[in-house]
């Protein structure tokens, strides 16, 4: 369904801040992004760029003291930023669901796998009988490739990959339409990572999910995402389909990021590091937030924020080199 242009979730100039002793930090800084029905969109950036904050904001699950300052997140005519808690409870898990990086931190160490499912269904589907819950959960486990006998295990008895499968099971238990996967494989070994990515791709097709894959790994997005949004210092700097971004990145940061990843299959390909490090968001640089590291920066970049402009071919880029 990657041609489908119907937007299912619409983020409109979202601002999210964390107050700190040194002033407010804009973790998400004027982000607008549409999720199209049935696509996998990769949200890419390095630590601290705001990608996880954006992910949890979509469910309004921000850890305090973070708060959504302005903007809208529209899902099915509901503005998630303004919805009541009751309305949100109907969306979380049932419409939009999330899988986190560290399954050990997501699962309750004192609860068996079965109890996680029972609690989850009691919360969301209180009318289901206990027998139904158990059989439904076991079906889910099989679908996820977990032997049913692990149903009575505690999280510490499971391997990392197995735990992540349980978390994915809980996330898809109510057949949501959107799955946010926040670095779902970062805590896992390379073979297990590949297995989990395979599983996510399979589930996406079987359940007709729209997926937002948050990751810092360019290899993972290249293999999984239909479209990519690249974030830097709280802003989306480039959006486009995966193949065109990899073939011709337009934003200097996107270009540098792609050149900074060694490709083990093409070892003669030049690898270039990006000078400097990401900015301190409590004291952001003036103008374009990337200008201190950008080799092409000119005067305008140092004083003005480049807006995200639409190009042909559904590309968007926030850089004065590319127009305006």
């Amino acid at each position: 369904m990657r041609e489908g242009n119907l937007s299912i979730l619409d983020v409109q100039s979202l601002f999210v801040e964390y107050p700190t002793e040194r002033g407010a930090v804009s973790a998400v800084n004027d982000v607008s992004l549409k999720l199209r029905e049935g696509e996998t969109i990769g949200l890419v950036g390095e630590s601290g760029c705001g990608k996880s904050t954006l992910g949890v904001s979509l469910l309004r699950n921000l850890p305090p003291p973070g708060k959504i300052v302005s903007g809208r997140i529209v899902y099915e005519d509901i503005d998630i930023t303004a919805a009541s808690e009751t309305d949100l409870q109907k969306i979380r898990g049932r419409e939009i669901s999330i899988v986190f990086q560290d399954p050990s931190a997501t699962l309750n160490p004192l609860m068996r796998v079965r109890d996680h499912f029972i609690e989850f269904f009691n919360q969301h589907e209180p009318t289901l009988s206990r027998g139904d819950v158990v059989s439904k959960s076991k079906d889910l486990l099989v679908q996820l490739g977990i032997p049913p006998e692990r149903f009575d295990d505690y999280p510490h008895q499971l391997s990392g990959g197995m735990k992540q499968r349980v978390c994915i099971g809980l996330a898809i238990a109510l057949n949501p339409r959107i799955l946010i996967a926040d670095e779902p494989t970062t805590a896992l070994d390379v073979l297990v990572e590949a297995q989990i990515l395979q599983l996510l791709r399979k589930l996406k097709d079987e359940l007709n999910l729209t997926m937002m894959l948050i990751t810092h790994n360019m290899g993972v997005v290249a293999e999984t995402a239909d479209r990519i949004a690249i974030m830097y210092a709280g802003k989306v700097v480039e959006v486009g389909d995966t193949v065109s971004i990899f073939q011709k990145p337009l934003h200097p940061y996107a270009e540098a990021l792609l050149q900074s990843v060694p490709n083990p299959k093409k070892r003669d390909q030049a690898v270039k590091s990006i000078p400097g490090s990401p900015p301190d968001l409590a004291q952001p640089p003036s103008g374009c937030l990337y200008h201190p590291r950008c080799p092409y920066a000119f005067d305008k970049c140092r004083t003005q924020h480049p807006p995200l402009i639409s190009l042909d071919n559904e590309r968007k880029v926030a850089c004065y080199l590319r127009g305006e």
Partner: protein, 331 residues
């Protein structure tokens, strides 16, 4: 080039802590076989990669090389000296010649010591120079790792630095004693993606300037392919394949190596297709499978694989594989 490190059948087992009742019942002690009869030689001046998943024994092997763990059996020879047979005093002098770079720079640096103090600490411990000389050496080393001008970093605390800068401080501290061998355990795993190649490039530059030999421990095959001259692939305490980086990546022989290489996410969306992956996950090193340790997950295993443990055999110059079937041998 002569060998700087030589491991011969090195073995390191850890007893599994048992509960009170089990001890009363006097059940047999079990062991985690972290490193199980590992042999290889590291040439002076090379970057030797130890690659594997968590639980493969790569970090323990690094510790055995440094003498931080004494092997239960087998030998570890550093520059002609058997590390298992020396006194503590001799060992202390030896320690200057080999240093370690850790994964997490935030926990490797003392948070309440200034950058300069952190870097000078090894000199102080080994009683080298007076305070002025130590300061001068630390300043010089900060410049060499790219923290320039050094005066602006010397009196700051680790928390004031970015992750990449902290890792540079860790590298400076490792180099201040002018060691010959550096064991780097996942040196870029905790560093921002955009800064990783910076750190790897720095390590390569310093290797040339200081005539270093690196043992590069990583689970990240992309990073390994970028810096290593030779790579040993470990699985459950064993080396399954060892060879020059290009040979290993272009002509992998062991089914496990091939699976690992296939699993690496490749930053190239053109021509992506589903991968054939081995089932399951790395089993517990307490009771590793009999025979070849990879056989329960191997797509090519035959009956004999679960009976006899294969030894490393040379398949082409410098390329060793522990697999009797060699399903991928080019004929």
């Amino acid at each position: 080039m002569p060998d700087i490190v030589s491991l011969q059948d090195a073995k390191k087992y850890f007893p599994v802590q048992k509960g009170f009742v089990e001890r009363l019942l006097a059940k047999q002690v079990q062991f985690v076989r972290a490193v199980d009869e590992v042999s290889f030689q590291i040439k002076r001046g090379e970057v030797f990669g130890l690659v594997g998943e968590s639980g493969s024994g790569k970090t323990t092997t690094g510790f055995v090389i440094l003498g931080l763990f004494r092997p239960d059996s087998g030998s570890v020879v550093f520059d002609g000296v058997d590390m298992t047979k020396i006194t503590d005093e001799e060992f202390r002098l030896m320690r200057r010649r080999m240093q370690m770079i850790f994964q997490d720079p935030s926990s490797a640096l003392h948070p309440r010591m200034k950058i300069g103090q952190n870097v000078m600490e090894p000199l102080r411990i080994h009683g080298i120079g007076n305070s002025d000389e130590r300061r001068g050496k630390a300043m010089e080393m900060l410049e060499r790792v790219g923290l320039s001008p050094a005066e602006t970093f010397f009196d700051r605390y680790p928390h004031e630095l970015s992750g990449g800068q902290k890792q540079r401080v860790v590298i400076a501290r490792a180099l201040i004693l002018r060691p010959e061998l550096i064991v780097a355990d996942e040196p870029v795993a905790m560093v921002d993606v955009s800064v990783r190649v910076q750190i790897l490039d720095l390590m390569i530059k310093l290797k040339r300037e200081f005539d270093l030999t690196y043992v590069f421990i990583t689970h990240d095959l992309s990073a390994a392919s970028y810096v290593c001259d030779r790579i040993a692939v470990m699985y459950l305490g064993r080396v399954l394949e060892l060879g020059p980086t290009d040979e290993l990546f272009d002509n992998p022989q062991h089914p496990y190596t091939r699976a690992l290489l296939a699993a690496v996410p490749v930053p190239d969306p053109v021509g992506k297709r589903e991968k054939v992956l081995p089932k399951g996950e790395i089993p517990s090193p307490i009771n590793p499978p009999s025979g070849c340790r990879f056989n329960p997950r191997c797509l090519y295993a035959v009956r004999n694989c679960s009976e006899e443990e294969p030894k490393l055999e040379q398949v082409s110059p410098g390329h060793y594989v522990a697999c009797p079937i060699l399903p991928f041998r080019a004929s």
